[in-house]
């Protein structure tokens, strides 16, 4: 199994304000699988994504990527783990505001051992003519495409997407989803996507529903649709 998550528990706060966000999560993902984490606000899906991404730690349990447990890693090793294996896409893009579009993608390419061609990525993402602009000169969709470019340019094993369409309109959201779908198919990248949007589950290989820190449903999607076919 490529990703193995076992008995992950996590809480925030202490005493009366203690909230158990994850109450023992177990799941497994195959390499190249497209997984959607669904759930209402506070269900723990973003926290789980952050623990998988090594930017938050669990109280107990472990995450294993290709046999390597993140909990055993030092801070330096975790940095190298993110550098080698992960690409991250955020809801609010998190581009570096003082770098232009091409440079933002190059920041990602710098980390890869065998990065993809930056100009090719820019063309694929429809950003080539905007490459010299700063992020604040682009629309939300264009910024999110840049963020995708930054995440995939280093050709990561896993693409972690935290509400990537949360701030976008319908058409732009679909464009973004199509791009993520292409990445998943073209490069065999494992995708874990956190979303509120129930319709997105239809493009996933696996759908995991969380509520109150517990997995309520973990199932294979037998009727997978393309991003183009989604509607909400």
């Amino acid at each position: 199994m490529f990703i193995e998550i076992s008995e992950i528990k996590k809480h925030f706060g202490e005493g009366e304000s203690r909230v158990d966000v994850l109450k023992g999560i177990n799941m497994e993902l195959e390499k190249g699988e497209f997984c959607v984490l669904l759930g209402p606000s506070g269900s723990g899906k973003s926290t789980l994504l952050n623990i998988i991404g090594g930017i938050d730690s669990a109280d107990s349990g472990y995450v294993s990527i290709d046999g390597e447990k993140t909990a055993d890693m030092s801070e330096k090793a975790l940095t190298m783990y993110r550098r080698r294996h992960l690409g991250y896409i955020f809801q609010m893009y998190n581009l570096i505001p003082n770098l232009n579009i091409k440079e933002n993608i190059e920041v990602g390419a710098y980390l890869g051992e065998d990065p993809l061609d930056v100009d090719e990525i820019l063309k694929t993402l429809g950003l080539y003519e905007h490459r010299h602009k700063l992020p604040n000169q682009l629309s939300g969709g264009q910024q999110q495409r840049t963020a995708i470019g930054r995440a995939i340019v280093k050709n990561p094993d896993i693409l972690l997407c935290d509400e990537p369409t949360g701030a976008l309109d319908y058409n732009t959201s679909k464009e973004i989803l199509k791009l993520i779908e292409t990445v998943n198919k073209k490069y065999g990248t494992t995708v874990i996507m956190v979303t509120h949007n129930d319709a997105i589950k239809n493009m996933a290989d696996r759908v995991i529903k969380l509520r109150d820190g517990v997995i309520r449903k973990n199932e294979k999607n037998e009727k997978k649709l393309s991003a183009d076919e989604l509607d909400w």
Partner: protein, 750 residues
């Protein structure tokens, strides 16, 4: 109803406590030093002014060959003056110094007791405070003078020796080599009758209105004319011409302008630091500002809100600084003067000017600079704030960088361009700090150099100043004439020595043609004079002008002087043929009675200027080197902190992406490192120019001339100190970057 925003002001101060504490500590240090200085300066000046009445300071003193008989006393009385004996003996003392011992004083120039007691027994002596300090002498010690032992019972200040000039013709005083003391009448008799100086102080029954005004000079000249016909005078020093009395009074308050300029320049830098940090806070809180503005809060209310924390911090720092200035530091600051002058005891006076200068004006400067920034920043529409779009002019395209440069290099360049205002402020701060540091570090080498160059270029080993023309048999002695004229420089006038040089002089290595004059290199340098210029000097009160055409510049760096032929001199100043006032000689003259010699300027006199200046300025110079270091720490740390905070989200993102600490440091800290190091190096030529201009401007308000020779070592030390300071600061910056959490990037900031 009070604005609910008020509560937020104190929360802002609390949340940014680190920043405000650092700035407040710096301001407290700065204001306490300035306040302490202003208070000490004003209090000492007041004590000095009052000492004339309180200690009944003489209107002048003169020396007779023997005690004044009844006829002489009557002569003085007929001139409407009273005379008081003030006999003294110059005795060899500790460390090769000369101790001038006076008999007890009852009516004029009364003794100010600072510590211990006035001598009551014949084997007791009280000594000048500064002389004791310079020679490590303490109350309770025993001093052997002229083979007699005296117990030191008190520390005193003599109001007629507030500057310890041994002779009125000396260039400078030397507190290590000359001091004064008093003994009882019996104690004075113990010293024997040999070499007593029959000095008398006089007081006018009808004193001149201004102690150092034209009246005083006229009156003293008239008095001299009246008495010199009937009495042989060995010395005649009216108070208005007495350096030992008036030098310290002239110097008090002289550095005030420098201190004010320094204070306000630092306040301007701090105000810019505040402006940059507040600007960063506004960027961070753009959506809050947008919401408040959209809700109906006026721009004025928001401006007041953001203006309040720096003003509160500065006001608090000013109050604490003033309290420290009044309590702890005024004595330290007074020690600056008390390290040079033997001033009488003083009382601390409340000084409204000091409060205005150290509190009100800094707050006004801070308010003006921050107000300009806030008005400019907050002039955007509420919508722009809500959209966090704080650019006044939307740039069509980002600045293009050569893509041949690696991404990390371009990343660093982007960080540089993004923070150019902060980096410019760092440059200005480093320039200012370096100027202070070089200024302080150059003082000692400059004074050493002055002493060395001046000694190398002395006209002769001995320059005798005679009280009256006396012949000598010494064949190496060469006659000269000298007088002192004044040059006007705006409101300031200073003395220029005019020498009459014997034709074919063996000491003056240049030929002076008739009707022309050579000037000293110091004079040429200070007043930018060159060959062919005509200089006009005037006598004491400007009643007579003397013009000289400069025919050459003579290498004489220690004194502002004009050299003409001795015959020209006599003609110009209406003297008889053969008139002279002294001798140049490489050997000591032994066949002239000491009492007829007003002074003998030797190598020691030239080096004492340098020694005394080093002694009195050394401590202050060290303090200002620390202030320079503090400015670098403050400016570099505060502004780099702003850069890091402004980029905290990007730093967090790069951490998530997998950038190592070293790589992130290479982007955000190396940029600051390069800017700081380049600023330090680029500032060197600018500082050299600034120091030259500053020094020349400063010296124009002082008598004499010290050429602004900045040794390379001062720059090297400044660079080394500044870089070392930055290295320490960069550790704090690294720590700051390491502390930025990974989840910073996960905060949904629109």
């Amino acid at each position: 109803m009070r604005s609910p925003l008020t509560k937020r002001i104190f929360r802002e101060i609390r949340d940014e406590a680190g920043k405000y504490i650092v700035i407040a500590l710096f301001m407290i240090a700065l204001i306490s030093v300035a306040s302490g200085y202003f208070i000490a300066d004003a209090s000492l000046k007041n004590a000095y002014d009052e000492s004339f009445g309180l200690y009944n300071i003489e209107d002048g003193n003169l020396e007779l060959a023997q005690t004044a008989d009844e006829a002489v006393t009557e002569l003085f009385e007929s001139e409407d003056t009273a005379i008081y004996p003030n006999f003294y003996k110059d005795e060899d003392s500790k460390n090769g110094s000369t101790l001038r011992i006076f008999s007890e004083r009852e009516e004029v120039n009364k003794v100010c007791l600072l510590n211990g007691s006035i001598p009551e027994k014949d084997d007791e002596i009280a000594l000048d405070r500064l002389y004791m300090k310079s020679n490590s002498i303490a109350v309770g010690d025993t001093l052997t003078v002229s083979g007699k032992k005296y117990k030191i019972v008190g520390t005193i200040a003599l109001p007629d020796y507030s500057a310890l000039y041994e002779n009125n013709t000396d260039f400078m005083f030397d507190t290590e080599k000359f001091g004064v003391g008093t003994v009882t009448k019996g104690g004075f008799e113990r010293l024997g009758d040999k070499n007593i100086h029959y000095s008398y102080s006089w007081k006018y029954n009808d004193p001149p209105k201004e102690r150092f005004g034209k009246d005083a000079y006229d009156k003293s000249d008239d008095f001299l004319k009246a008495i010199s016909k009937n009495v042989m005078l060995l010395n005649y020093i009216p108070t208005c011409r007495n350096s030992a009395i008036k030098f310290s009074g002239n110097d008090l308050g002289h550095d005030r302008i420098m201190m004010i300029v320094l204070l306000y320049m630092l306040i301007v830098i701090i105000s810019f630091v505040f402006a940059v940090t507040t600007s960063n806070t506004i960027a961070k809180e753009a959506n809050v500002i947008g919401t408040l503005r959209a809700s109906g809060y006026t721009k004025g209310e928001i401006i007041l809100h953001y203006m309040a924390p720096p003003v509160i911090v500065l006001a608090a720092a000013s109050i604490v600084g003033n309290i420290l200035g009044y309590t702890l530091l005024k004595d330290n600051m007074a020690d600056m003067y008390l390290g040079s002058y033997s001033l009488v005891s003083y009382e601390t006076l409340f000084n409204a000017d000091a409060f205005i200068e150290t509190t009100i004006i800094p707050i006004v400067i801070l308010c003006v600079i921050n107000l300009i920034m806030l008005i400019s920043k907050l002039s955007l529409s509420p919508l722009k704030f809500l959209r966090r779009d704080l650019k006044r002019h939307q740039r069509r395209k980002a600045l293009r960088l050569n893509t041949k440069l690696g991404i990390m290099t371009r990343f660093r360049l982007r960080v540089f361009f993004q923070n150019i205002t902060g980096y410019l402020t760092i440059f200005v701060g480093i320039f200012f700090a370096s100027t202070i540091m070089v200024f302080c570090l150059m003082l000692n080498p400059l004074l050493d150099n002055l002493a060395a160059v001046t000694v190398d270029n002395m006209i002769a080993q001995h320059q005798y100043i005679l009280k009256m023309p006396v012949e000598t048999e010494l064949d190496t002695a060469e006659k000269y004439s000298a007088t002192s004229l004044k040059i006007r420089n705006g409101d300031f006038t200073e003395d220029i020595s005019v020498y009459g040089i014997t034709k074919g002089s063996r000491y003056y290595h240049s030929i002076i043609n008739r009707d022309t004059a050579e000037i000293s290199s110091a004079f040429a340098d200070k007043y930018s004079l060159k060959e062919g210029d005509i200089i006009t000097l005037h006598d004491e009160f400007g009643s007579h002008d003397y013009s000289f055409t400069v025919s050459g510049i003579y290498n004489y760096p220690g004194t502002l002087a004009v050299f003409i032929g001795i015959d020209d001199f006599a003609e110009k100043f209406d003297k008889d043929d053969g008139y002279f006032t002294g001798y140049f000689s490489d050997k000591e003259i032994t066949d002239i009675d000491d009492k007829l010699i007003a002074g003998d300027i030797t190598e020691d006199d030239y080096t004492k200027t340098s020694r005394q200046l080093k002694r009195s300025m050394g401590g202050l110079a060290d303090t200002f080197v620390y202030i320079g270091i503090a400015v670098i720490i403050l400016v570099v740390y505060m502004l780099s902190k702003v850069i890091i905070e402004k980029n905290s989200q990007s730093i967090s993102v790069t951490k998530i992406l997998g950038y190592s600490k070293r790589e992130i440091g290479a982007v955000y800290i190396r940029t600051t490192t390069v800017v700081t190091i380049l600023s330090i190096l680029l500032c060197v030529p600018l500082v050299a120019v600034a120091i030259d201009a500053l020094w020349r401007a400063m010296m124009m308000s002082y008598a004499g001339w010290l050429a602004p020779v900045v040794p390379v070592s001062a720059f090297v030390k400044t660079i080394a100190l500044a870089i070392a300071t930055y290295i320490v600061t960069s550790f704090a910056l690294k720590h700051k970057i390491n502390k930025i959490p990974l989840d910073e990037a996960l905060k949904n900031v629109e």
